[in-house]
Amino acid sequence: MSVQMPNAPEYREGRSEIAKQRQARASIWNWPIILQATIDSVKKLNPLHLLGNPVMLVVEIGALVTTVLWLDIAFGDRAEGGFFTAAVSVWLWFTVLFANFAEAMAEGRGKAQANTLRAMKRDTMARRDRDGRIEEVPSSELRIGDIVRVEAGEIIPGDGDVIEGVAYVSEAAITGESAPVIKEPGTDIRTSVTGGTTVTSDWLRVRISANPGETFLDRMIALVEGAQRQKTPNEIALNILLATFTIIFLLAVGTVRPFAQYVGGDVTTTALVALLVCLIPTTIGGLLSAIGIAGMDRMVQRNVLAMSGKAVETAGDIDTLLLDKTGTITFGNRLAAEFIPVGDHSEKEIATAALQSSLADETPEGKSIVDLAHRLGYNGVGADPRAELIPFTAETRMSGMALDGHRIMKGAVDAVSKLATNIPADLETVSTRIAMAGGTPLAVVDNAEVLGVIYLKDTVKPGIKAKFEEMRRAGIRTVMITGDNKLTAATIAAEAGVDDFVAEAKPEDKMQLIRDEQALGRLVAMTGDGTNDAPALAQADVGVAMNSGTAAAKEAANMVDLDSDPTKLMDVVAVGKQMLMTRGSLTTFSIANDVSKYFAIIPAMFIGIYPQLDKMNVMRLSTPESAILSAVIFNALIIILLVPLALRGVAYRAAPAADILRGNLLIYGVGGLIAPFIGIKLIDMLLVLLQLD
């Protein structure tokens, strides 16, 4: 199993225009989207649309009731309470509109993504190969199994696998990556091509693997548009909780009138509707679907396509991360880590010799030797044009250069030893030690004199240890999988700071490992790209396929990483957690808000019956009408104020659960108790100032 090189920094800088656009859309203040969302929020007033959202449905019915009451007052002969009822009605409609706006904003951002994708879904002409006979057909007529030929400069007409030819393909349209990638048949990671990408050199013969409408691009568009968005289990559970609260408050408010009448008074329907709307969890009810859509959207911003919202949610729950060593934890190629002199030679001698022999060497190993020498302070004179390069061959298993009678060679220890007349005694021990630690020893010889050994090491990516440390704090176990021997694996595992590792692993071991973890009740996430990864990707709770991987791997996974960066798994987990945290925090905020609303509305409502209840008016709101209106206005405004939070998600940091809970409880729980007292009072003061009370 092999993994593509991860995105080195220089690649990222070469991001295409599309990637920049994608970043730009992450900003909340995108005026065209806001305008469209405003229009959509009116369209969403259709009660049928609100059927799936019991909380907002109740608000809309409430708004209808007060509007009818107002019309009754306005066109009837009653003069009392007209302005108050009208004002409450208007703000109840705003409450629904604001909630609709939140959803429309989230959808709008998704749609904008989809539009860029759709732009590349042009209907192209394809050259179909029917038993050697080439015919031109529109790409929409291609079916699974058709074979097409694509030339340089042409768009690949559909998803498929390369069966012949080697060519560069630009996938910028999908991944935002400007550097073209090579495609050829018969490999795990370079064989599958995506419809809509462009062949930039040579030609390819491709076997189509998806019918029109079912291609990767089609699925992607549907996903980011939220067209097929299904509620996730947790969203359903939360909706049930919110519905329960709504029914409880319907009961609490619905029984107020008989109680009030029994004690010899009455309350207005407008006040009751206002109380009900303020109590039911409109903040979370109005923002819930926006949070879900935005969660998917944040995945897309990170160039990860989640096949379902459930997958994003599950990502937040992951207990175990299964990581391939090569490409994920280490760079996958061996880099020089140390110069070890042998015999009576010094480090300087071997370092200088190694530097000279590598100056013209363009392989990663060669470059890393130059780097290391420079880092250690050995500065060569630069490549001498007179030097004669001796290239690496499979036969000699060494490479080097000749200059001024010196022949400096580096290569496998046994191969290089043959050149030497005198083998220092410690060469054997040094190279064995390196091999045992998982490294590769390269011997360096000057003519017949062995100078020392270059320690080539599989280098752990910088910063990865900190990331794993973060995972551990969040309670996530990291398990490294490698085909290396146990000793090598242990060295890398210790260096990278993973919790556990499996050495000498065969592809099928991955499957077993996932099953074992799941049997303990753990949720497992993994990345993969090869066809032999497909079963494990399907078995894992979150399987992230690399976009460079085979169609089978992408099919089995529930997420695809367009950047093909295996470390992205950790971002995926963070996005999942963030989505859940946003839901929980806003639910807490919503419920905590109710306390202040009671203190605003209850005294105002009953003060006509019992003037003594004025003592409960702790905010000293000016009149009963302004008290109720202020609560309703606050309730509506808080939705719109929290839209950016819903779209961005609450801040996530990797920390133990108790710390996160304490932090969020303080902000959204205690904050949710206090903030509305201040907000309602301010609105009341403003109403008095504007003489609207």
Binding site: P233, N234, I236, A237, L238, I240, L241, T244, I247, I248, L251, A252, G254, T255, V256, P258, F259, Q261, Y262, V263, G264, L275, L279, T314, D317, D319, R472, R473, A474, G475, I476, R477, L520, G521, R522, K577, L580, M581, G584, T587, T588, I591, D594, V595, Y598, I602, F606, Q612, L613, K615, M616, Y652, A657, A658, I660, L661, R662, N664, L665, G669
Partner: protein, 578 residues
């Protein structure tokens, strides 16, 4: 508040605290069939009983079968009580020749005792024969309590077991609970009570000439045996009309202490049993802590309100402060309270009896100050989870824990889990049914009662206080408490029927929801605990749980309470007596 009162409340709490672990451990051994006593003594006796009743103790039931057994058992029990009460005139042990009761009273009482409510629309000594008290009512005091404990056992098994539908055997749980927990404990308590002067006889009522030469009739009967279980089983149905305020039921401060501790003893012990069963006693102590916080806060609040007394009297120049010496006075509001118990003991009892689903009283809650009377009502509105009914208090608190975990779990960025079980849509639906049933019955039936003529004639007082009396009655029935605020004439066809229905619905619908919840949980995998798991045994979570209990309960009943006790409080402070 006086120092003696405060110390008394603390002493009470620490005695309960000290008994929680040993009792909890004992109950754990009984339920799990562990320990020498279980193996050598209980086991052989159980085997004989099971053989006689054709019970195969090894057969495990799924939640549906368990629920069916529980419902069938309760239905037969209710029918038996109804029949005995109706036929009481023709049955033995009836020295006063009391006649059979009316159909609606028999229905109400049968519903009341099988639902562990013990709401009494009747006065014991003037309505019930000794046979009815012993065979109909006391038997239900035992088995209805055992049913409650059985249901919470099933819920705990739902948490501890994984990927199974086996949840235990109803008959085994019922037998063990009755025989090895309730029976021995009430026998001991009954003897202790007799030592204090609680009566236990089959005599006919005694006519006695008082010191003043007047004639007075003293009711007799086998009181001690019934009172012991009515306290321990959170039943609360008094032998006599005035319940534990009557000297023959509760003669001394010591008997009062014993009876008060008995109210919350088993519910408190069950928290420890729960912790042992789920394999972490810390989890049990966390639940205990949450209950204790609300209990102590409520008790001190009531005690303070009652000791402060009525501001109207202060305005009239009447001293309500605590005095010693020649002017010895308890101070505070003593209306409706027994001199031999005083304010602190009354406050402890009022909070215990409503926090737990007991409902026995040693003082009249109707006569409390508005805020003092608010807490007992609010305790019931919270769902009686402050120790709560035997079994029902713990399962109620566990449902609150599930709700708390759901919200708190989301806030830490994981789909919520409690004790290793993921909380999904199904669990939330059942928790929703659990909460909605009682809230809906309490509020809707109160609304009906204040709207129809048959209901309006019930209360003794008018206005806010009359409304409080009705609200209290339906709160008490809905919460399966059984305590009466007083002042309400409830022995009418309307109230007997409405309260009876409420008691049955609010007992058995939530119970079935709990059993279904257990079924759903047991079916699930168990999720391992990691650093990313929300700790549910930390002070932070306990605080959050308390907050959820108070806020959810408070939000639901705030409007209803405003028009009752809260407005009364402001009226009294303004010098208005409605």
């Amino acid at each position: 508040m006086t120092i003696f009162g405060v110390l008394h409340i603390l002493l009470f709490f620490f005695v309960v605290l000290a008994l929680t672990k040993p009792l909890g451990a004992y109950m754990h051994a009984v339920f799990e069939g562990e320990g020498i006593l279980s193996k050598k003594v209980f086991g052989p006796v159980e085997r004989v009983i099971f053989r006689v009743f054709f019970v195969d103790a090894k057969v495990e039931m799924d939640w549906k079968r368990y629920a069916l057994s529980m419902i069938m058992f309760s239905a037969v029990s209710m029918l038996a009580v109804y029949t005995i009460l109706r036929a009481q005139g023709d049955l033995p042990l009836n020295p006063q020749d009391l006649p059979g009761t009316t159909p609606h009273l028999a229905f109400n009482t049968a519903a009341s005792f099988t639902s562990n409510t013990n709401w009494q629309s009747y006065g014991g000594e003037t309505t019930m024969s000794y046979f009815s008290q012993m065979v109909a009512l006391t038997v239900q005091n035992f088995v209805s309590a055992a049913v409650g404990i059985a249901v919470v056992l099933v819920l705990i098994r739902g948490f501890t077991r994984k990927s199974t539908s086996d949840l235990g055997n109803f008959w085994v749980d019922l037998t063990r609970c009755t025989l090895w927990i309730l029976l021995p404990m009430s026998s001991i308590l009954a003897l202790l009570l007799v030592s204090q002067g609680v009566i236990q006889n089959f005599d006919s009522y005694k006519e006695i000439t008082t010191v003043e030469g007047a004639k007075q009739i003293f009711a007799m009967g086998p009181a001690a045996s019934q009172i012991a279980i009515k306290q321990l089983g959170t039943n609360g149905g008094g032998f006599f009309n005035a319940n534990s305020a009557v000297p023959f039921e509760n003669p001394t401060p010591f008997s009062n202490f014993l009876e008060a501790v008995s109210i919350i003893l088993i519910p408190a012990g069950l928290t420890y049993t729960f912790g042992k069963m789920v394999g972490s006693t810390r989890q049990g102590w966390a639940v205990f802590a949450a209950m204790s916080v609300i209990f102590l806060a409520g008790t001190f609040f009531v005690y303070n309100a009652e000791q402060t007394g009525n501001p109207t009297l202060d305005d009239l120049g009447v001293s309500q402060s605590y005095e010693t010496g020649d002017l010895a006075s308890s101070g505070g509001n003593m209306e409706g309270k027994e001199i031999r118990f005083g304010i602190a003991d009354s406050a402890i009892w009022a909070v215990s009896t409503t926090g737990a689903s007991n409902g026995s009283v040693n003082s009249m809650h109707d006569s409390y100050t508005p805020l003092g009377g608010l807490i007992p009502m609010f305790n019931m509105h919270l769902g009686e989870v402050v120790f709560g009914g035997v079994g029902s208090g713990l399962y109620g608190m566990l449902v609150f824990a599930i709700i708390s975990v759901f919200i708190a779990g989301l806030m830490i960025g994981r789909t919520p889990e409690y004790l290793g079980k993921k909380i999904g849509p199904k669990e939330m639906k059942l928790a929703g049914i659990y909460f909605l049933t009682t809230s809906a019955m309490m509020l809707l039936l109160t609304a009906v009662a204040v709207s129809v003529d048959q209901g309006k004639v019930g209360p003794l007082n008018a206005g806010a206080h009359g409304y409080s009396e009705i609200l209290y009655a339906f709160t008490s029935a809905g919460a399966n408490n059984g305590s009466a605020f007083g002042g309400l004439t409830a022995n009418t066809e309307f109230y007997n029927t409405a309260l009876g229905i409420s008691m049955l619905v609010c007992r058995f619908v939530p119970m079935i929801a709990i059993l279904a919840l257990a079924g759903a949980l047991a079916n699930k995998q168990k999720v391992p605990t990691t650093a990313g798991t929300l700790p549910t045994d930390s002070p932070l979570f306990v605080g959050f749980l308390v907050g959820v209990v108070i806020i959810v309960g408070g939000l639901t009943f705030f409007p209803a309470l405003t028009l009752g006790p809260i407005v009364e409080h402001f009226l009294v402070n303004a010098g208005i007596l409605s």
